[in-house]
């Protein structure tokens, strides 16, 4: 099939591919274009002059919704989720390499986390924190502490329930990536380091870690973007204050001006920034490794 002459299926499949990519990017691009509508422009084409009017409106806030607060919350949560996902995925990847009892059960638990419907996870976490609140109130009343008794509102929040909900979504991706990275890992580099007298920590720090950094950045990319855009699992588990995607979903039914496109364009721009930064760093590492050779890249600091 890879012969010099194109087989007949090339042209229809190339067309399928081109149309698919157009279908993937066309709507986002047209949303971005429409967000630059003039002040009198509507939600659909044609463009009624070009302006940054709706971005200006967005800066002033969207009605009663504290959109910038939500933006900040989602950003902070995504960063925390990213750091935790990278650290825990790496630790778990190393554990899987050494092998441990129950490793295949844990593997299936991770995979099942991707498959269990998000709404069920969200309901379950919502219930968990409901019971936790009840327990805290009970203890608070028993000890007659005002802050934990009647005055207590909820333990559910951004860095408790929402964080946990997001981790059930990002960690499986992170661990799967780490398993794939270690499956392709050349063990002889490590053995060489040990034979040269490196301790376990030195081997990890100066040989293993530099070699897997592109993988770790991949994990970080997945964790940040999946958390920043997560909606279904947070829906019942975000606590009192909403994340950006939750506010966005609410706004799609209430806002009928291009302001919603401006918000969508801005959020997508943040995602693209992160994606291209991560891909840039990964490509940078790859080409450096290709020029200098993997061992050298790893050891010489």
């Amino acid at each position: 099939m890879n012969g010099s002459r194109r087989s007949l299926s090339f042209y229809p499949l190339a067309a399928v591919f081109a149309l698919f990519v157009l279908f993937l990017y066309g709507p986002i691009v047209s949303m971005a274009v429409l967000s630059f509508q003039g002040p009198d422009g509507g939600l659909t084409f044609p463009m009624n002059r070009v302006s940054t009017f709706w971005f200006g409106k967005l800066m002033e806030g969207v009605g009663v919704v504290d959109i910038w607060g939500a933006f900040g919350r989602s950003l902070r949560l995504a960063i925390v989720v990213m750091v935790l996902t990278v650290v825990l995925s790496l630790a778990t990847g190393l554990a899987f390499r050494r092998g441990f009892r129950g490793s295949s059960s844990l593997f299936y638990l991770l995979v099942s986390s991707l498959i269990v419907p998000s709404i069920v996870v969200s309901l379950g976490i919502g219930l968990l924190f409901r019971f936790l609140d009840d327990a805290i109130r009970f203890v608070g009343r028993a000890l007659s502490l005002a802050s934990l008794g009647e005055g207590f509102t909820s333990s559910a929040g951004l860095f408790t329930s929402a964080l946990g909900a997001h981790l059930t979504w990002t960690l499986p991706f992170g661990v799967l990536i780490m398993l794939a990275v270690f499956n392709r890992f050349e063990k002889s580099y490590e053995e060489a380091a040990r034979d040269l007298g490196a301790t376990g920590w030195q081997t990890f720090r100066h040989v293993v870690l530099p070699l897997i950094i592109p993988g770790l950045i991949g994990v970080a990319l997945f964790a940040f973007t999946l958390s920043f855009d997560e909606l279904a699992r947070s829906s019942q588990a975000a606590g009192d204050l909403n994340t950006l995607p939750l506010e966005l979903k609410g706004l799609t039914t209430t806002v009928t001006t291009p302001e919603i496109y401006a918000l969508g364009t801005l959020t997508t721009a943040v995602s693209f920034l992160v994606i291209f930064a991560a891909l840039g760093v990964i490509i940078g590492f790859r080409s450096r490794a290709a020029v200098r050779g993997p061992v050298e890249t790893g050891v010489v600091q």
């Binding site: 279908f23 949303m31 419907p117 709404i119």
Partner: protein, 307 residues
């Protein structure tokens, strides 16, 4: 030499070989704790609460099967007419089948094109990335961006009118089963492309050449060689697409208007009324359905081998 020294040193530090093995358990403990707390415990609670009673304001911890009776109320009595639960499941099933067949067809075509028609390995990676990048952006925004495409004054209607294919704008393009499935294809075709492409990458060139030399055309090779060898990838892709669609409430809510029902949406509505035991019972039924589906499909694939 050094290694032997280290081994001795280690074995002196920790009595017996077990001391060495504790490291992976320490490494994996935080992750295991996260999943016990935020996945296993919540699912157990959901099952427990599905057997509880409730009032307008609160959960009542008293065993009852009423929630399950409510889910399937009148289902046997009304036959051959469909009860509410069966209607919702039928509607969800139709969405699943439509989304699955389209994502499979398009995903397979795209993966096949990338693997067998794009000759440079770098170009394959770049084009695959091109398909992957939208996955890292927001599903809500991607869904929302389809609205100006499908609406009454949308691009698609303008195009159809311009070509003279229709006389007036078509209303069934948005807030319909059509728009929901379009959004699913937009969001989830990647779930098919990646595992199928991975399976295809493992097919050795020699096998294809052997098939060619034995006189098979491209079509025969596809049916007899490529598809069977991609079974695993197809199964994994199918699992991800079907489970994503099965429990969906966001896309159905945004693109289906009030017309389209799904199990996920039913659960969401019950939660918004704080009928948590009812939502839990529906969740358990949904979870059971998803599990059966996955177990059926997983027979065709060894997930772990695919990494």
């Amino acid at each position: 030499m050094e290694r032997i020294h280290r081994r001795i040193a280690v074995s002196q530090r920790a009595p017996g070989p077990r001391g060495r093995n504790i490291v992976p358990y320490i490494l994996v403990a935080p992750l295991a704790a996260v999943f016990l707390l935020f996945l296993v415990a919540p699912l157990v609670l959901t099952v427990v609460v599905s057997f509880w009673d409730y009032s307008e304001y609160e959960l009542i911890p008293r065993f009852t099967l009423q929630n399950y009776r409510d889910v399937f109320s009148g289902c046997l009595a009304q036959l051959p007419d469909l009860c509410v639960a069966f209607k919702v499941y039928w509607s969800t099933l139709k969405l699943c089948l439509a989304a699955w067949s389209l994502t499979l067809l398009i995903g397979f075509g795209v993966a096949y094109f990338l693997r067998f028609h794009v000759r440079s390995a770098v170009a394959q990676v770049v084009l695959l990335l091109l398909c992957t990048i939208p996955f890292w952006t927001s599903n809500v925004i991607r869904t929302m961006s389809l609205v100006p495409l499908l609406g009454r004054n949308g691009l698609l209607n303008e195009g159809l009118l311009g070509l003279g294919l229709v006389r007036q704008p078509q209303d069934w393009l948005l807030f319909s089963g059509f728009s929901v499935v379009t959004a699913f294809v937009h969001l989830y075709t990647l779930y098919m492309i990646v595992p199928i492409y991975n399976s295809m990458k493992r097919i050795e060139q020699g096998i294809l050449e052997a098939s060619h030399d034995a006189g098979a055309g491209e079509w025969q090779t596809l049916i007899g060689v490529v598809i069977p060898l991609c079974r695993s990838g197809i199964a994994i892709g199918s699992i991800f697409v079907l489970t994503a669609v099965m429990g969906d409430f966001v896309t159905v809510g945004m693109m289906g208007g009030q017309q389209i029902s799904s199990i996920g949406k039913v659960i969401e509505v019950e939660m918004s009324y704080l009928h948590l035991p009812a939502a839990a019972a529906n969740s358990v039924v949904l979870l059971g359905t998803v599990l059966l589906l996955v177990l059926g499909l997983a027979r065709a694939a060894d997930v772990r081998k695919e990494l």
